[in-house]
């Protein structure tokens, strides 16, 4: 019997174990039936909605709050993203809000008393052409001035950090350099939402699942409640935090928003021995990959070109992405696609979020996070809570008002968002 052993000694494999996950707490949140009236109703029980409710209770002393979710809690994009966390965005406005978010991430587990596998393993963003290099370097310099940690790496330094990466100059799109944010990383997505849900629930927030908002009670251009599949609920203020479904809700409330909902896919492999300790992103070749705590490779793909609420995308998007991934990581050849899935991303014309007031009094909106939503969860919740509690935006979300589409003051993050849409 002859076969090359390579690294595959059965003995070694026999000892290979996946990391054990910490046991979940015995009580997460209480599912309740809606009351007749709340001070604040948050529509959308994803990470952003739950974080908003939590910070409303914690930072602003409100207690009579409900989060209304039409499906199951955090079953939308919170459950469907690739969990990448970073703050090295190009524009000052974006850098500020994402960096605020990253700072919150850094103490979030303590703050919520909940483990969420927040791991600051660093995020590499690769450049593959001279013009790509130029724009990534600009990003690097912008971050430096904005107090956002960022390093510039040569291909050799990239290789040192990620030994399995192919930095040969003879590939179709060679690695020419990279920005590196050491404080970036990943977290376990479900647990982030559950941590917020538990903490909010503990502070008295009502979490109401399986309840769809079907309309708004608006009088004299002022919102006074929501109609739901479980009846009407009065509300002093209402926050719309429904990601891909924001357009539908805005239309129900009588106004339009510049959002298109598109499928965004991702995939995981089975559990694999650790080969990748860093998050690697490459917008030019559509590769976004990290290896999760237990060992599965988690990869993001591009968006499909058309509007969809189906939570599924085309398989050609996945195939294209894997072709690129194998160029960067030849070792992935024998890894397997175990599961693919799609989310509904809410994309604004400038690939930046919309957080703030709406044409309807006491009705607030938080949408347009596109592919950047997960990393923004704490920061988004923080400023949304401030906006709802005070009726005026926080300093950090002022630039992200709906009004910017009329003044023309867009914040064009197409480059930094990575995924081309």
């Amino acid at each position: 019997m002859t076969h090359t052993k390579d690294t595959l000694s059965p003995g070694a494999i026999g000892r290979r174990r996946a990391a054990t996950l910490p046991e979940q707490p015995p009580q997460l949140w209480k599912s309740v039936k809606p009351k007749k009236a709340y001070d604040v109703v948050i529509v959308g029980g994803g990470g952003h909605g739950l974080a908003t409710a939590y910070y409303l209770a914690k930072n602003h002393g409100l207690s009579n709050i409900a989060v209304i979710e039409k499906g199951w809690l955090a079953g939308g994009n919170t459950a469907r993203n690739t969990t990448i966390i970073r703050s090295n965005y190009l524009w000052d406005e974006s850098g500020a809000i994402y960096e605020h978010s990253l700072k919150l991430w850094e103490t979030l587990e303590e703050d919520l008393g909940y483990e969420m596998f927040f791991s600051q393993r660093g995020v590499l963003t690769l450049a593959h052409s001279v013009s790509d290099l130029r724009s990534k370097r600009r990003n690097f310099y912008a971050n430096a001035l904005n107090g956002i940690d960022s390093e510039w790496l040569t291909p050799e330094e990239v290789k040192k950090l990620v030994p399995i990466i192919n930095i040969s100059p003879d590939v179709r799109y060679p690695v020419l350099g990279a920005t590196y944010q050491p404080r970036g990383g990943i977290a376990k997505h479900d647990w982030v939402a559950w941590g917020y849900a538990k903490a909010a629930s503990d502070l008295g927030v009502d979490i109401i699942q399986g309840t769809e908002v079907t309309g708004f009670d608006i009088r004299n251009n002022k919102v006074e409640g929501v109609h739901t599949s479980q009846g009407s609920i009065a509300a002093g203020k209402v926050g719309l935090v429904a990601a891909g479904h924001s357009s539908i809700l805005a239309n129900l409330a009588g106004f339009s928003i510049p959002i298109q909902s598109r499928p965004l896919q991702a995939l995981v492999s089975p559990l694999l021995e650790q080969v990748l300790d860093t998050v690697v992103m490459s917008g030019a070749v559509h590769v976004y990959v990290s290896q999760a705590h237990k060992g599965e490779l988690v990869m993001g793909a591009g968006t499909d070109a058309f509007n969809s609420y189906a939570q599924r995308g085309g398989f050609h998007v996945i195939e294209h992405q894997l072709a690129s991934a194998l160029e960067l990581f030849p070792i992935f050849s024998r890894a397997q696609v175990l599961r693919t899935w799609g989310g509904i991303v809410d994309i604004a014309p400038d690939a930046s979020p919309i957080i703030g007031l709406t044409p309807v009094e006491n009705l607030f909106i938080n949408t347009g996070w596109g592919t950047g939503g997960f990393k923004a969860t704490p920061g988004s919740g923080w400023v949304m809570a401030h906006t709802i509690a005070n009726g005026t935006p926080h300093e950090l979300n002022k630039p992200f008002a709906l009004e910017r589409f009329v003044t023309g003051h867009l914040i064009d993050e197409h480059g930094a968002a990575g995924v081309a849409h």
């Binding site: 690294t7 595959l8 174990r17 996946a18 979940q24 089975p270 398989f315 294209h320 397997q336 599961r339």
Partner: protein, 892 residues
């Protein structure tokens, strides 16, 4: 049937070629194949196919795929595999296998070659349709194979019908919109070393079918009881098949636990193969039918209202005793056995149907989720459609009541080591949705994707909440149905085929001249042409000097070129460009800028009027396709009344830029039928002529600010013209230059590059190009200049920078601050702009830059800083034209 040998965990085993590895290992007496991932429990094979959660192995021979169930690997001489504890490894060595893809359009695709699939295929053929029949096994027959039965003769003929193509080892992995199915065909692994090297290991099928028939069959499911994971506990259908078909003769005493009549049929098969079936325990009160009669006739004791609650293990944890319980009296009794065959009912394979959003419905009769779907496009058949073929009469039962102690070892997901206790904790934590339970417990997330555990989870939730499975709903299944190697999906789009490479007709010359290339979009463009031993800096300096002082040549063929013709071409261009083109005389060229409707600069280039109704537009290299699409969109969807026709001619016309004070002289040696003199041929004019009889169009266009001529020639003549230039160019020290030198030259002259000196937020006014914005006419984007922010103060404007240190080149992308700007309270340093282009200029003998600076045009002469971490550079804001402001050189 030939005997072969293979290795597992470095031990040799015998097997029969083509049989499942699991069968060969079992026959050799290997019950305990691996240990579980978290609890380190010994585990053996329980199933027959891709549903197998335990016997997961890694191949160490052949391609060394990272993870496969031993139940689907066909043994072949020389095969080697090793066990996994649930975590795979990625070998370092390159994967030498080939992978390919094929597209297929067919009238009807039938998925599953069992009786249901074959019958469906027969119907389709009868209706005159062409059929593609795919099945994941090595041969047709489905369950019949497990029973050792021949395919009925009538259906056998189906396989040989001229309008039917049958593909074995071909697994449908995803069903997508409009009957698009992706399947993977494993083509070489079963051949071992005999596989032809030229044959692709896996072929990915992209199938579009008018009709799809789903007949994927079903998996038998286990039951939840304490210590239900011991080696020796198997699904009854798998156990009977291994014993009867694969001659596994290692079991002596068996107990069968069942909820349906399948358990009886399997008990009878075991009995006939000489296994002493101690008893059949059936949760039902009574049972009837041929299977039951046969069991009775065989003298197998039957205990109704009885099931298994626990087991004990012997050596290495292998099954020793089965603890049974009467469900009414709750009295336990135990029986020694080395095989516990479990029949928990059938779970139809609903995966593919759910991929496109069809919701399976709970069927009490089948005790299963089924999909009864019959439209013109999509039909389900066989067990998926609830046709269980007879008298199964299953009870809805997933396991007995268990106490906490028992629940700790009552496994639901064997591969993830998730137990009933975990599930109870999840529910106790307040989780009601099955999706939450899945995420809390990780059930269904392993290599088998919950093929056996999914339904058990639903069942357990039902028992906890006293509800029907129909109220719980199924877990969502997502493609792929089975794990697929990345390499297979990448196919042949690897290496240089990852993305098409576009080259000009002069590319080979550049390669021979030793050019270093840069990627611009899909194009390969010479970046610079180093002489031996020359650095990039040295090469670029030499190239720049040649262009400014002698004559230099570059291949500008990648510029996008769009031929625009029609009676309304001029009107159309007036609407597209910010400046006027209808006034452009024939034979002349004009630089134009175009904006999107939002007023932001989108592309630029020189457009030449070749005739009254004929223009040739050039675009940026990267923008060619975008611009053509943009023109077509307006023509087709807004202005259909305009008679205009746009054609991409980028790859029809090569453009050679001949640049420098001596360019006229050199060109004059080549072109004799055009008067090249300054007076006869002014800047921004174009002339038709010939070179050696080859038609050329020469244009006085300059992207360098130097005297320059562009030679436009039909693509395939370019190399000839280029060589002719070089043959005459030696006395002129003709120098080839690349994009880097082009950038330096144009920046010295203050010419922008869209995408480098713009970032998708600049209006023409921001670029100090108000001169190009017509006040007389309407054009796309004009209205947006009136939006408050687009006309506000503080906008970034394009300026020049003169460095304090002449030698130091400011890094491109660096940010600019006022002098001595300190950090603010948050540690941020406020900036006023950034550097877009920055070079060392041999002509100026100093470094310089272009930058976008807030209110920059009002800051002329201001000293600014460029902080670069520990150090800081200084520069002065100036106009963005550094050389020949009067255009004397350009127009000479």
């Amino acid at each position: 049937m030939s005997e072969i040998s293979f290795s597992f965990d470095d031990k040799l085993y015998k097997g029969i070629e083509g049989e499942p590895m699991a069968a060969a290992l079992l026959r050799s007496g290997l019950l305990s194949m691996t240990n579980s991932i978290y609890h380190d429990r010994p585990r053996g094979v329980i199933g027959l196919g891709v549903e197998e959660p335990n016997a997961i192995v890694q191949l160490v021979s052949g391609t060394k795929e990272s993870m496969l169930p031993a139940t689907v690997i066909e043994v072949v001489e020389g095969l080697a595999a090793c066990s996994l504890t649930g975590v795979g490894a990625l070998p370092q060595m390159p994967d030498e296998s080939r992978y390919d893809k094929t597209n297929c359009f067919v009238d009807t695709l039938v998925i599953g070659a069992g009786v249901a699939g074959l019958s469906a295929a027969e119907n389709e053929l009868r209706a005159g349709r062409e059929v593609l029949l795919i099945d994941d096994q090595s041969g047709p027959g489905g369950h019949l194979r497990h029973l050792g039965l021949e395919i009925p003769a009538s259906l056998f003929d189906v396989l040989h019908h001229k309008n039917l193509t049958y593909k074995s080892r071909c697994t449908a992995i995803g069903l997508y919109d409009q009957n698009y199915v992706v399947a993977i065909e494993r083509r070489t692994d079963h051949l071992g070393e005999a596989a032809p090297a030229s044959r692709a290991r896996i072929r990915v099928w992209h199938i579009r079918a008018d009709r799809v028939v789903l007949a994927p069959g079903a998996f038998q499911r286990p039951l939840i009881f304490a210590n239900n994971d011991r080696p020796g506990i198997m699904l009854s259908h798998a156990a009977a098949t291994y014993v009867a078909i694969h001659r596994v003769k290692i079991f002596r005493k068996a107990v069968v636990v069942t909820v349906d009549n399948q358990g009886y049929r399997d008990a009878v098969r075991l009995h006939r193969e000489g296994v002493a079936v101690q008893c059949i325990c059936d949760v039902r009160e009574e049972a009837g039918g041929p299977g039951v009669d046969a069991a009775k006739a065989a003298g197998i004791p039957i205990h109704f209202r009885t099931t298994c609650v626990d087991t004990t293990g012997g050596e290495e944890g292998v099954l020793k005793t089965v603890i049974l319980q009467n469900l009414d009296t709750k009295k336990n009794f135990q029986i020694d056995a080395d095989l516990l065959a479990v029949s928990g009912g059938w779970t139809p394979i609903v995966d593919l149907a759910t991929h496109i959003g069809i919701k399976p419905k709970w069927s009490e009769e089948n005790a299963a989720f089924v999909v009864k779907h019959s439209t013109e496009k999509l039909v389900t058949a066989g067990m998926l459609a609830g046709d269980f073929g007879g008298d199964d009469d299953p009870a809805i039962f997933f396991g007995p009541e268990l106490n906490k102690e028992q629940s700790l070892r009552a496994y639901i997901d064997l591969q993830r080591d998730t137990t009933l206790h975990d599930l109870r904790r999840a529910v106790g934590a307040g989780l009601s949705s099955i999706e939450h339970v899945k995420r809390y417990t990780t059930i269904g997330t392993a290599h088998d994707q919950g093929k056996t555990s999914g339904m058990l989870t639903i069942g357990a939730l039902c028992q906890l909440g006293n509800i029907s499975p129909g109220d719980v709903g199924t877990l969502s299944f997502r493609p792929p149905y089975v794990p697929v190697p990345f390499a297979a999906l990448a196919g042949r789009e690897r290496g240089l085929l990852t993305d098409p490479i576009r080259i000009t007709s002069l590319h080979q010359w550049h390669v021979e001249a030793g050019a270093v290339f840069e990627d611009v979009g899909q194009w390969k463009r010479p970046w610079y042409f180093p002489k031996p031993g020359e650095s990039m800096e040295e090469a670029v300096r030499r190239e720049c000097i040649a262009a400014r002082e002698g004559v230099a040549v570059m291949d500008a063929s990648t510029l996008g070129k769009i031929d625009i013709q029609g009676a309304d071409a001029a009107v159309f261009l007036d609407r597209i460009y910010t400046n006027m083109f209808s006034t452009l005389p024939e034979g002349q060229c004009r630089y134009g800028l175009m904006c999107k409707a939002d007023g932001i600069v989108f592309d630029d280039g020189v457009t030449t009027r070749l005739g009254k109704n004929h223009f040739l537009m050039t675009t940026t290299t990267g923008g060619a396709a975008r611009v053509l699409a943009w023109l077509e969109e307006w023509l087709q969807t807004e202005w259909p009344e305009l008679k205009v026709y746009c054609t991409s001619v980028t790859e029809h016309i090569s453009t050679i830029a001949l640049v420098g004070p001596k360019s006229r002289q050199l060109l004059g040696e080549l072109v004799t039928d055009i008067d090249l003199s300054k007076e006869a041929f002014p800047f921004m004019h174009t002339r038709m002529g010939t070179i050696d009889g080859i038609p050329v169009r020469i244009a006085r266009i300059s992207f360098s600010g130097e005297l320059a001529f562009e030679i436009n020639v039909e693509w395939s003549y370019a190399r000839y013209i280029w060589e002719r230039l070089w043959s005459l160019g030696i006395p002129y020290n003709l120098t080839a230059y690349g994009t880097e030198t082009m950038h330096v030259l144009r920046a010295e002259k203050g010419y922008i590059i869209v995408g480098q000196d713009t970032d998708g937020t600049q209006t023409p006014h921001d670029l100090n190009m108000s001169w190009i914005v017509s006040k007389k006419k309407e054009f796309i984007g004009k209205r947006s200049f009136q939006l408050p922010y687009l006309k506000s103060s503080g906008r970034a404007q394009l300026v020049g920078l003169l460095t304090a240190n002449y030698e130091e080149v400011i890094p491109e992308g660096a940010y600019i601050t006022i002098q001595n700007a300190g950090a603010d309270a948050q540690g941020k340093i406020p900036h006023i702009g950034f550097v877009t282009s920055s070079y060392f200029s041999p002509a100026l003998d100093r470094s310089f830059a272009l930058a976008l600076v807030a209110d920059g045009l009002g800051r002329m002469g201001e000293q600014i800083e460029i902080p670069l971490g520990k150090k800081s550079l200084r520069a002065t804001i100036c106009e963005s034209v550094f050389i020949d402001k009067e255009n004397i050189r350009r127009d000479s």
